[in-house]
Symmetry: C2
C-alpha cells in the first residue's frame, strides 16, 4: 500500500522534480511488529537532508501515522519514504514556494538467512568509483546513478554486495550499506564528508561503540583488516566473508555489534 | 500535452526508477513551426546515454511522431523527452528485462529577448563545484542535484545563468548551457569527460567551426577571455556580458556562431 501526500495513490505527476532532476530525498526503514527501533535516527537524517536541499521537512508524527497505515497488518515490512521538492516548471531553479511530494510505501522485507548473519556475505570489488561531492555527501538524496551502475557490475547471486571506493583509493561503503573494518585492533568506518551515505545503522553503532574511529580508510587497509562488516538499517550487521579473492572471518567486533543490533529489537533472520 | 508510453497521461508510477534513483535520461528540444533543426543530434545523445546506462533506446521515428502529437497547434515549443529504466523492485539492481518509461511533453518556449541575443547575459559565479564522474560525464541523465543547488545560489532576475567550475579550477559550463571562450584569439570549449553535459548546440558548433578547441579551460583563462558565450539547444547562442564583476563584450566569434545558429532555422528572439 502507498500514500502520496496522505492519499491512497500509486502515481505522481510526470512534472515532479523528483523525477525530472532527482530533486529529493528518501529513507528506507525496517519495521517489525509495529516497531521501528531506528525511527528517530531516520527522521534526523531526513531533516538533515531537507536542510541541505532546502526542502521543508514534513511532520515526523504525521509520517509515523502514515507508516502505520501503509504497513497495517504486516508483521515485518520495509517502509520507503520519498520526499521530493514537488512540482516545478521546466528548469533547474527551485520554485520559491515548494510544495513537497511525500510518498510513503510499504515493501516486503528482503529475505535474510541466519547463515548470512553468522557466516557473512561476499563482496564484488566495484570498478565504479564514487565522485567527491561534499555538498551532497552523507545525505540520502535521489541521485543514485552511481549506485545503480555499481550494482549492475555483477549478477552472480552468490555475491551479496559491492565494495565502493572513491577516486583517491579509499574504501567508502557498499552499494546499499556502510562499511566497518578492524585494522590493527581498532574499529574504523570511513569518513563520509566527500561521498557516500551516512547510514542510520552506522550512526547507531558509532554511538554505541564510541571507540570506533571515523576516518579515511585506504583500500589497502581494508584488504588487510582482521574483520570487515556492513551495516544497513534494513539488513542489519553482516560480516564480510570475502572481497573478490580476499577472505575474512567474522571476529569479536562484528559479533558485539550484532548483539547490540539484536538488543535494539531486530530479529537475526527473515524468512 | 503529454504522452506517457504513447498514451495521453500526466503521471507515472511512484515506483518508477526515474523517481526512485534518477535512473534515466532526458532531452529538451526546441521546435519552431514543426521543425527541430537539432533533432538528429538529440537522438544521437539520447542513444549514447542509453548505451552508457544500458537502457533500451526507443525508436526515434516513434519519438518524432509523439513530438508532433504533443506539440500539435503550437508554433513554438520546447519538447522534453524523459526516458527512465521503468518500474523496478526496491533496490539498486537494474531489472534484467527493463521496460523503459517514455514521457514526451511540450512546454512553452522561454522568452528570449533580442537584447539578450545581441547584448548578452550576466553570469553568477557558482560556489557549487561539479564533481568528477567520468562514467556519467557528457550524457544528460536525471541526476541533476548539482545543477539545482547551483541554480539556487542566486535569484536576482538580472542574472541569467551561473558559471560552474570543477574542483580543479576549470570552468565547465553554465547550469543549463555550454560555455565557449576566445582565449588568445583561439575559440575553446571545455572538455566534458569528467563532468558536465555535452550539449547538442555545442556539438553543432564544434562541427561547424572545427578550429574550436576542446580542452581543459582554467577559470583564470576564462576570466581573461576576449569573448565568452553560452550555447543551449533551447536558448541558442548568447554572449556573456559579465561574470560577477568581470565584463565582456560580444565579439566576432560569437557573432559568427550566432549567424550559423540563425542559418539552422532558429529565430533570434522569442516573445
Amino acid at each position: 500500500m502507498m500514500l502520496v501526500n496522505g492519499q491512497p495513490c500509486d502515481s505522481v505527476s510526470a512534472l515532479d522534480r523528483g523525477l525530472s532532476y532527482g530533486d529529493g530525498l528518501f529513507e528506507t526503514i525496517r519495521f517489525e511488529f509495529g516497531k521501528a527501533p531506528l525511527w528517530a535516527r531516520h527522521m534526523q537524517r531526513l531533516a538533515a537532508g531537507c536542510e541541505r536541499l532546502r526542502i521543508p521537512m514534513p511532520d515526523a508524527e504525521g509520517l509515523w501515522q502514515e507508516a502505520q497505515q501503509v504497513g497495517s497488518g504486516q508483521a515485518r515490512f520495509v517502509l520507503r519514504i520519498t520526499l521530493t521538492r514537488g512540482l516545478g516548471e521546466r528548469g533547474y531553479a527551485p520554485p520559491v514556494f515548494a510544495a513537497p511530494t511525500r510518498i510513503v510505501a510499504a515493501f516486503p522485507m528482503p529475505a535474510i538467512s541466519r547463515e548470512l548473519f553468522t557466516g557473512g556475505i561476499r563482496l564484488h570489488r566495484c570498478r565504479t568509483l564514487l565522485a567527491d561531492q561534499p555538498l551532497l555527501a552523507g545525505i540520502k538524496h535521489l541521485n543514485r546513478l552511481e549506485q545503480v551502475l555499481a550494482r549492475a557490475e555483477w549478477n552472480d547471486p552468490a555475491i551479496g554486495e559491492g565494495l565502493l571506493c572513491d577516486s583517491h583509493g579509499h574504501a567508502i561503503s557498499a552499494t546499499a550499506a556502510n562499511l566497518f573494518a578492524v585494522v590493527d585492533g581498532v574499529s574504523v568506518t570511513p569518513a563520509l564528508d566527500r561521498c557516500g551515505v551516512a547510514g542510520v545503522a552506522r550512526a547507531e553503532l558509532l554511538e554505541a561503540f564510541p571507540a570506533c574511529q571515523v576516518r579515511d580508510l585506504p583500500l589497502h587497509e581494508t584488504l588487510r583488516a582482521s574483520e570487515l562488516f556492513l551495516s544497513s538499517s534494513v539488513r542489519g550487521i553482516l560480516p564480510v566473508q570475502a572481497v573478490g579473492d580476499t577472505v575474512y572471518a567474522p571476529g569479536p567486533v562484528v559479533r558485539a555489534m550484532q548483539q547490540h543490533w539484536l538488543g535494539l529489537g531486530f530479529a537475526m533472520e527473515q524468512a
